[in-house]
């Protein structure tokens, strides 16, 4: 039987960790930077990330701090699998505006790389030295059955004993929400 051992929700106005609301003064994307400054503050790569990565990164950082285990030890038994609706649409639109004027054509690799939704799983794997499974699933709308079906499948990999997973949606800098869990076998 698999169980969620920790849960975080982040919206543009509220953060709730294991049922307890955290004090935040900012709203919108500033809420993520506020959380970064208060709880992380040692990973300047954060500032290069797009909104989807920032959201996934911060949510995972807070979950892992709450989990309280030894961190940054290489491991292969933790998977990172997220779900959403908009994929990387926010970054896609930025990149499209980068290239739409061919007379003034400066495609940026730093923007292009975030036009893949799974980059956030890579960012988390790098930060935490996770060599396990990473995947990104896009569906039309949130659905608990799909979620459960996919996560049950992730645990059929014999190496996997836990997964950081959940809904990670960032339509724009102003519209995002995350509901992320640590689930154990």
């Amino acid at each position: 039987m698999k169980k969620a051992v920790h849960k975080i929700t982040i919206t543009t106005t509220d953060v709730v960790l294991d049922g307890k609301p955290l004090d935040v003064t900012c709203s919108g994307s500033s809420i993520l930077t506020e959380l970064y400054r208060k709880y992380v503050n040692d990973y300047p790569k954060y500032f290069k990330m797009d909104i989807l990565c920032k959201l996934g990164f911060i949510a995972t950082e807070l979950l892992l701090q709450t989990e309280g285990k030894v961190r940054f030890e290489p491991c292969e038994n933790r998977a990172v699998v997220f779900f959403n609706r908009s994929s990387s649409l926010h970054a896609d639109k930025s990149f499209e505006s980068n290239i739409s004027n061919r007379g003034n054509f400066y495609p940026s690799p730093a923007v292009f790389v975030y036009t893949l939704p799974n980059i956030v799983t890579g960012e988390i794997a790098i930060r935490n030295k996770y060599y396990g499974e990473t995947n990104f699933i896009v569906i039309e709308k949130r659905d608990e059955d799909v979620f459960e079906n996919i996560i049950d499948g992730v645990f059929t990999d014999n190496m996997t004993t836990s997964v950081v997973t959940g809904w990670l949606e960032a339509e724009s800098e102003a519209e995002f929400n995350a509901e992320i869990y640590i689930i154990e076998k």
Partner: protein, 378 residues
Amino acid sequence: MIKKIADNITSPLGFTTADNYKAVCEGKSCLKRYEGKWKLPEPFVASLFQEGLIEDWFSSKIHTDKIYTRFEKMVLLSATKAIEESGIDASSERTIFILSTTKGNVSLLERNLCGVDDDRVLLGVMANVISHHFGNTNIPVVVSNACISGLCAQIVAKRCLESGKYDNAIVIGADEQSPFIVSGFLSFRALSSELCRPFSKNRNGLNLGEAAATIIYQHCDNLIDGWQAVKGAIRNDANHISGPSRTGEGCFRALKYVMTDEVVSNDIAVVNVHGTATVYNDEMESIAISRAGLSDTPINGYKGYYGHTMGAAGVLESILSMKALDDGLILATRGFDEIGVTHPVNISNKIRHTNKKTFIKLLSGFGGCNAAMLFNRR
């Protein structure tokens, strides 16, 4: 276990698996140099459908009043052909659609299409349009895990079928080329301005390609004959978001995981590599293959025929490898000349014969992800 019951490859080389296989055996490719295409300032080499070809095939093969994008037409052409061959009921609640794509309908951002809602750029919405075309009401899943999506989708399919929830999984991998994708790869300086040369000394980048490919898997308790997807794994390098690990960490770990106790390296006919022909990818794969003890096992790659077809690659390249082994063949690595990786690998530069019936497919992608899958024929 799961058994492959039908497949299709829709690419610039042909609209059936048989046509594609024949073209590849004959050493053909549609890779060519484009200058000024889409008003892009730099030339590039790609394997693209001839203008209007998808639209013509679609209107002759599929009768519908609905409006579909060019990308969706590619997907529907491939899926329709495979579904017809399989004889399954695609509308059944015991059938699930699993799509693999990186960018889907992203070209709608540049130019919208009359009669197609803007939200079709969303992968889940697009996938619903596809599954509804076949009357299927299950929620379709889109795997968007960069360039390894095509294997991840097959891994997800295997798990869905083995859980007992579904009888059939229709796995469709597809990507169309567009100014968006070409510009992105140009910005990374990852594209070669010549035909790509996988694993070669003078390789200098990849070529892009477009295709759609479909594999239909069915759950079975006992495989009497045919192909099964035995075991798959996804592993991360935990190293860099846009460059592979110097130790081939994720690729090596995925390889090790799928090399089960029942399969020794001597049973493996071929490892079909990712082989994009970028300096770093091919070097990384040689390290992973060597670390996994597969230096003597034949390896081959298909990017010299198709370019990098992204979301389609894992599906297309798995199908071609099965088809070749059905004929006892290991296909040649088009574009390869002189070995240019530091770790020893046994690259197939011409068609070889084998009586082995097992192969491994490898892929690696941005985000540090890697996938391996072991296939076996009874």
